[in-house]
């Protein structure tokens, strides 16, 4: 009888070990500090009208052109931060922690730590139901994740209406963002596929790579508001239709085609390259800041 009970318990234990081993083996260690590699360029932060690499609707383009970056000087907007997409658009690395259920020892969630202008993102791994569509929408949104084919796949919904570029390209609260995170050795690649039924004709797809950092990263810095030239009660800075003074700045700086700078969908495909081949005039040789691997392009 005693042996029988032992055998049954061993059987159950072995089954659990086997299941746990197979489940755990489909995953990689995501928690840790991941430093940005920064050799790819997505958004040229300092140019106000830069929608390169985006497939915008006319409405999105029109609205983006009304955006004045001085809005961020308004005291009530200084700490608004940026939305979930800024995870791969911003210059920072990732500080990832895992939250473990002490009873089952399973990962309940991963948390990607906040930066000074980006709220932390929680990726729930416990199959919890997605909130009602009427639930609170936030900058970080609500993200559910699962392991799939050796990658961490996640979907973010419930985002607050905001921007998908710091240049004022808008995103609605109906947007969804699909993430797929791949780890190859010490390199982590985060793939973002953002869709928006109102402002994007095609998804914005961005991939950004990070390298495992032995030094823990910590970008936490409380946002402190201060006077930046805007008085409380001032109107929201903006440009009227056809009045954005920066509409040609990026075009002139690098001799870029205007339709590419303004985010027309055709500009994302190889056919467009062939279309502009005979009319494109290269910019003059680079004379300053030609090799800085920084986040900013040169503004003249």
């Amino acid at each position: 009888m005693f042996i029988h009970v032992v055998a049954r318990r061993v059987f159950i234990a072995a089954l659990l070990v086997g299941l746990a081993a197979s489940r755990a083996s489909a995953q990689f260690e995501f928690a840790g500090s991941w430093a940005p590699i920064g050799t790819e360029d997505v958004q040229n932060d300092s140019v106000p009208v830069d929608y390169l690499g985006l497939a915008l609707t006319d409405e999105a383009r029109t609205r983006a052109l009304t955006y004045d970056e001085s809005q961020k000087s308004m005291i009530e907007r200084q700490c608004a931060g940026w939305g979930a997409a800024y995870l791969v658009l911003g210059p920072f690395g990732l500080r990832v922690s895992s939250q473990i259920d002490p009873v089952t020892n399973r990962v309940v969630s991963y948390t990607i730590g906040a930066w000074e202008d980006w709220n932390e993102m929680v990726i729930w791994m416990d199959d919890r139901p997605r909130p009602s569509e009427h639930a609170l929408h936030t900058q970080a949104g609500f993200t559910l994740g699962r392991w799939e084919g050796g990658a961490l796949a996640a979907r973010t919904t419930h985002v607050k209406a905001g921007f998908i570029r710091k240049t004022g390209v808008p995103l609605t609260d109906q947007a969804t963002i699909d993430w797929r995170i791949f780890r190859h050795g010490d390199v982590l690649t985060v793939l973002m596929v953002a869709t928006d039924p109102v402002y994007l004709v095609e998804p914005e797809i961005v991939s950004k790579s990070f390298r495992l950092s032995r030094t823990p990263l910590d970008y936490r810095a409380g946002c402190v508001t201060g006077y930046e030239g805007r008085e409380p009660g001032d109107a929201v800075p903006h440009y009227g239709p056809d009045q954005n003074p920066f509409i040609d700045e990026f075009v002139k700086l690098y001799h870029l085609p205007k339709e590419a700078v303004l985010g027309y969908p055709e500009t994302l495909y190889p056919e467009y390259r062939k279309k502009i081949k005979d009319t494109y005039v290269p910019p003059p040789p680079c004379s300053e800041s030609c090799g800085a691997a920084g986040n900013f392009v040169l503004r003249r």
């Binding site: 029988h4 072995a14 050799t39 690649t189 961005v206 994302l268 910019p283 691997a293």
Partner: protein, 248 residues
């Protein structure tokens, strides 16, 4: 009798557990009976793919200014080459394919046609520059001749204990080339490591992500990492072979 049956159950259970763990371990190591690379492929990369240029647009879709190498960790040794870039001279010397080598070819906007050349060789053709890359899963005799696409060794990396996985390709024996059209160099000693991953898109679409790591002891101070991506196309109706160009 009861003790004997219980003991048998115990032994069988332990054996089953060991077999299961051994299987998982073997999968993790890529072990198991020898099957061809084609038969053991954890993901299907074959078909036509088109570049979807949402990153590095300014460096890929148009030719950047001479002398600009932002975001590339070029070494001091690379600077004279960058500043001396002369596309006409490249053209005259028959080097118009320098920016179509393995260090940059996946970033060149265009289409890929991926097929199995044989059971252990994956073939990638590009319509931009009409290049052909061969990924060898089994040892192949290395050529003494350096080429734009070099020698590529491929390995499947199945997702342990799950469907899916990734393709890892290491390429060396390269002819010196450019990381960008405007003459930012990589040398003959460069190594290109690539990871091919798939992701789903809406409406049964597929995305191919190629994380590319270029290391070069001569012209780079650190790894140059980019991750161009491609959308799956239903057929080759948009395939448009164009020759290499040193200016465009």
């Amino acid at each position: 009798m009861r003790i004997s049956r219980a003991a048998t159950t115990l032994v069988v259970t332990l054996l089953l557990t060991l077999v299961q763990l051994a299987t998982i371990h073997a999968q993790q190591r890529g072990g198991g009976p020898a099957r061809s690379a084609r038969d053991s492929a954890p993901i299907d990369l074959t078909g036509y793919w088109v570049s979807y240029v949402t990153e590095n647009w300014r460096y890929r879709m148009v030719t950047p200014a001479k002398g600009e190498y932002r975001r590339i960790p070029s070494s001091r040794a690379a600077l004279p080459i960058i500043n001396a870039w002369d596309p006409a001279a490249d053209e005259r010397a028959g080097n118009q394919c320098k920016s179509y080598g393995a260090g940059n070819i996946m970033s060149v906007p265009g289409r890929l046609h991926i097929t199995w050349q044989d059971a252990d060789t994956l073939r990638i053709e590009t319509d931009a520059g009409t290049q052909t890359r061969l990924f060898h899963f089994s040892p192949s005799s290395a050529s003494a001749l350096r080429t734009w696409q070099g020698e590529s060794t491929a390995t499947w990396e199945p997702a342990p204990g799950a469907d899916g996985g990734s393709l890892r390709v290491v390429t060396s024996n390269l002819r010196a080339g450019y990381l960008r059209k405007n003459g930012v160099p990589y040398g003959e000693r460069a190594t290109v490591t690539e990871h091919f991953d798939l992701a789903p898109l809406a409406a049964n679409g597929k995305l191919l992500l190629v994380t590319t790591i270029v290391e070069d002891p001569e012209y780079l101070t650190g790894p140059y990492v980019v991750s161009p991506h491609f959308k799956k196309e239903p057929d080759g109706s948009k395939w448009d072979p164009t020759p290499c160009s040193s200016t465009w």
